[in-house]
């Protein structure tokens, strides 16, 4: 070292520092590439489905009966009806269960109950959906045959942890001051919950429900054994098997005829557009409503 070091020495990248900066830049570039790759994959997937599916779409595709085995003619009308019906059944079961579970965890659970239910929710959220299908098949379908109700029940098990966790999150974000104010006014606990907490958390709960329904209506595995359909029978009675869009795609592909495959693309296009639109819509709506409340 010289007696008087150059005062600007530390400011110019040289030797080791240059190498360190280079490593850092390369690393940053790699993360940008990774993000770009994920976005590119998404765009390619969407483009590919649109390219193959959009030509199949017509009004009669949505309204006509399921195609025969060869895939010539027909549409996905019953499958759309069945998917909507089973998603409705699932939500009728899962929404109250999920919200009540969130209320239990937020206000009523002792330390042990809280821990157990939280663990169970996490485990349920990670449950393979095929296991849910096997479970409902063993519980119901093996005894009384497949039905839309069994399919709806299976989908509700997909929805419950999603709704419960998001409701819990929404309830925990209700400003403490509102709860304290309602307590200070001498309101009964239930009035505070029903009149203050739930309305304030409703945006989050509704968003979670939309996302859960979107997720459930794209599931195939829980319906594989619980609401399976043979032939083209068209039924809207949930006590019998209902067709569903994901399962219809799966079965059209198994037959392998080119007409079936193009029907599958059309159905996949429909399913994907609805699910992505629900996802985007729910997020945008939640963000806007939260901004309005200054959260």
């Amino acid at each position: 070292m010289s007696a008087i070091p150059d005062p600007e020495h530390a400011l110019t990248a040289s030797g080791n520092l240059r190498r360190r900066l280079l490593v850092s830049r390369v690393f940053e570039g790699a993360t940008v590439l990774a993000a770009a790759l994920a976005v590119a994959v998404l765009l390619i997937l969407v483009y590919y489905v649109v390219k193959h599916g959009v030509g199949v779409i017509s009004l009669s595709f949505f309204t006509s009966d399921l195609p025969p085995y060869t895939g010539v003619g027909g549409g996905i009308g019953p499958a759309l009806v069945g998917t909507i019906e089973m998603a409705l059944i699932a939500t009728i079961i899962a929404l109250p269960t999920g919200v009540l579970t969130a209320l239990y965890l937020s206000y009523f659970a002792g330390p042990r109950g809280d821990r157990i239910v939280r663990v169970v929710l996490d485990l349920m959220a990670g449950l393979p959906t095929i296991i849910i299908g096997v479970f409902v098949a063993g519980l119901i379908t093996n005894h009384v045959g497949p039905s839309g109700l069994a399919g709806g029940l299976a989908l509700s098990i997909v929805e419950v942890p999603l709704i419960a966790r998001a409701s819990l999150e929404a309830i925990s974000r209700v400003p403490q001051i509102l709860v304290e104010a309602s307590d200070a006014l001498g309101m009964a606990r239930w009035r505070g919950i029903v009149g203050v907490v739930l309305p304030t958390a409703s945006n989050g709960i509704v968003t979670a429900t939309i996302l859960a329904v979107a997720r459930a209506s794209g599931e195939t595995a829980p319906l594989l054994f619980t609401s399976e359909l043979y032939g083209q029978s068209f039924s809207v009675d949930p006590r019998h098997s209902l067709a569903s869009v994901p399962l219809e795609i799966f079965q059209l592909l198994e037959s392998g005829y080119s007409a079936s495959v193009s029907k599958a693309w059309g159905a996949a296009f429909t399913l994907m557009v609805v699910i992505l639109a629900a996802n985007i819509g729910a997020r945008v709506w939640l963000r806007r409503s939260e901004r309005k409340r200054g959260l």
Binding site: R20, A38, T129, I131, V160, L224, A268
Partner: protein, 326 residues
């Protein structure tokens, strides 16, 4: 407001009666709500127990016949009533492990990019787009897998990999048709990346700004800041995210069954077809040809359930151990 004023005594008594009635109603409603919430919690708990019971119960016939030998036997020949799960367990593990390795590299990078490097305006667009990947239904992903991914890798990915890494048993000679363990791994990667990316992004955002600023003030580059501060502080959470992604990968049935090739597996070669536990359940459940087939599939489901419970519980414990856990 009543139009006619009533005598004072009367109104006080009425008010008291009203308050008593309200109190009674409130007490009842409080109790009812508490019970309802309790029922919600218990219902979730019971559902989980019932799932475990039902799946294990369905497997008893196979368990009595094969015992734990089921786990190490390789033959699965329904017409001869011979069942062993080893090849399916192998198929599940090899596809999931490969997918999680790829997805960890990509997902953690994306998480770092979104949390620490991207300008806010970019992050709020790219972040949701990556999460959108997770919203694509698995059957649609499988469809794309069959018609886009399989032909692509058979033509452009597997041959070069084979010529470079062919000395490893995993990268043997490819088939002309792309349906393979490798294709299944790639489809699983697409499913797992958004999970790891979203979880790790949220995790990296919780690293206190003082720590990051401190590292940069000491003269570290961005890479050194990440390696020296961000990753060590969040390491258990990052591992938890990857374990969660692994749990998602082992349980995927539909998309995997569409691209995995469904061949008997007696090789380590990723470029040939095989099958995984979840996908073999999806493919064979409705076509039981021998009395022990359905119980054997339930046995497979039990193994899968045990895997899933262990993995998810492990991820949870790891996540709670995180230094930054709330």
């Amino acid at each position: 407001m009543p139009l006619v004023t009533q005598p004072a005594m009367n109104s006080a008594a009425a008010a008291r009666a009203r308050r008593a009635r309200l109190n009674r109603l409130d007490r009842r409603a409080n109790r009812a709500l508490k019970w309802l919430a309790w029922i919600g919690g218990v219902l979730v708990f019971i559902a989980m127990l019932l799932i475990a019971y039902q799946v294990i119960d369905g497997a008893t016939a196979a368990f009595d016949k094969f015992g734990f030998g089921f786990l190490v036997h390789r033959t699965w020949i329904p017409v001869e009533n011979k069942f062993g799960a080893l090849t399916y367990i192998y198929g599940t593990l090899v596809t999931s492990v490969f997918a999680v390795i790829l997805a960890t590299i990509l997902g953690v990078s994306i998480g770092l990019f979104l949390a620490l490097m991207a300008p806010r305006r970019v992050a709020v667009i790219i972040g949701p787009m990556v999460e959108m990947l997770a919203a694509i239904p698995s059957v649609v992903l499988g469809l794309i897998g069959i018609y886009l991914i399989c032909p692509f890798i058979a033509a452009d990915v597997e041959p070069p990999l084979h010529s470079v890494l062919g000395f490893l048993p995993f990268f043997g000679a490819p088939q002309p048709i792309g349906n393979s363990l490798f294709a299944a791994s790639l489809v699983l990667t697409i499913m797992v990346v958004p999970i790891i990316a979203a979880l790790t992004r949220d995790l990296f955002l919780t690293v206190p700004l003082e720590l990051r600023d401190g590292a940069e003030a000491l003269g570290s580059t961005r890479f050194e800041m990440i390696r020296g501060v961000v990753l060590p502080v969040t390491s258990s959470g990052v591992i938890a995210a990857c374990v969660l992604g692994f749990g998602r990968a082992i349980g995927e049935a539909i998309a995997v069954s569409q691209v995995i090739g469904d061949q008997p597996l007696d090789h380590l070669n990723l470029f040939l077809g095989g099958n995984s536990a979840a996908s073999v359940i999806a493919l064979q459940y409705t076509e039981g040809v021998s009395p022990l087939q359905t119980p054997s599939l339930f046995y497979l489901a039990t193994i899968l359930l045990a895997f899933s419970l262990i993995v998810n519980f492990g991820a949870r414990q790891l996540g709670r151990r995180s230094l930054l856990a709330r």
